[in-house]
Symmetry: C2
Subunit: 225 residues, 2 copies
């Protein structure tokens, strides 16, 4: 048997790279909602033909991150306040449950790593990094649940609303409250109190949602002035 790269790790196809790059850019808000994604433009950015770009866009549409109209191209999906609220409501149902499952078997090492992310989140000065650190903190706690399907669902839901969440974090008091709530969640995890950790997570998500919705309702008046 010859040993080459494909034996070690399956080489990522071009569309995988494009998909991941666009997915992250959309989730982070680097590409604003409503912005059109031209196949040709993206193809040139990655030095490929339009074929892998179309595959990436297809996958993004399946994930709900872009909306495509026939012969009109893809635009970054924009969510109504109602849709945003629904995704948060969904997260508030799933994530506490996953954390509960996770705590039943969580190791001290995992807790220590989560604590590291929480501290990095709390002390990071660059607000552009808050979103990633927030995600890492929660994910680290969820991973121990060993529920790949749940985690995938959570990731998809968070991808949809992450750019709004990041906007909420930089609001006054948004970051302060997140810091405190992370600490409380972590304490409950360390105490192996699944019930309390779940309830705190639920409140954490719903609180962020409320704060975000209030913010959006005062700023979003594009139609009907």
């Amino acid at each position: 048997m010859k040993i080459n790269a494909t034996n070690i790790a399956q080489m990522a196809s071009a569309s995988d790279v494009i998909f991941d790059a666009l997915r992250e850019a959309i989730a982070r808000g680097d590409i604003g909602e409503g912005q059109v994604l031209r196949q040709d433009h993206i193809a040139r950015m990655f030095n490929v033909s339009r074929i892998p770009v179309r595959e990436a866009l297809t996958r993004l549409e399946e994930q709900g991150l872009v909306a495509t109209q026939r012969y009109r191209g893809a635009v970054v999906a924009s969510l109504s306040i109602e849709e945003i609220r629904e995704v948060f409501e969904f997260r508030a149902l799933i994530e506490p449950e996953v954390l509960r499952l996770s705590i039943a078997r969580i190791s001290d090492d995992a807790l220590a790593e989560a604590r590291g992310f929480a501290e990095a989140f709390a002390t990071e000065a660059n607000s552009a990094k808050w979103g990633d650190l927030n995600r890492q903190f929660h994910y680290r706690l969820y991973e121990e649940a060993r529920r790949p399907y749940y985690l995938q669902t959570i990731r998809a839901a968070l991808d949809r609303v992450d750019r709004y969440l990041r906007a909420q974090l930089v609001l006054t008091s948004g970051m302060d409250r997140a810091r405190q709530e992370h600490q409380q969640i972590l304490d409950a995890c360390i105490a192996r109190d699944g019930e309390r950790a779940a309830e705190l997570t639920r409140a954490h998500i719903l609180g962020a949602c409320d704060s975000l919705v209030r913010f959006l309702e005062t700023t979003r008046r594009p139609v009907g002035a």
Copy 2:
């Protein structure tokens, strides 16, 4: 302004048709797990080139219904018992909540339609139709929740395990119990007892899962005989 078909409804692209056809065939179990899906073969079936087929396969992979390996093609995803259990556990978390939300505003008309599906399910002699009727019954009750994101998630989860569920239905006593449980759920809905309807739905899903897993554990011994 000229009026033509595209004004009335956006014409479905070729890949939409292929995607829906394959998705249903996989969910229903008409294409067995592990079966390879040759691009060329499917393309000829639909009288198109491989391009729209590849788009459909890409979307199916994003939905988790097929698994693709680079240069090796796509195969219908096969789930381990653990993975099946996780999807059912997920459904048992989501669906009761959606039903609870739905009951808060459900109309008598919707209940009548759901009753119609339940009766059709209970009296249908052709076992091949049980799966669809089962789905329609539950969906009709969920729709009134007006939660498109939840519904989409439920559909994706059910697509993954529907073929197993259909196999479980035709097991002895599987159909009998489903009939009774549907009636109980319907009664609770008619009484607008969201709490009871949710708990019955949860038991309905978990019961089917247990029955299915027992069945699979006795029949599935392909490795290590």
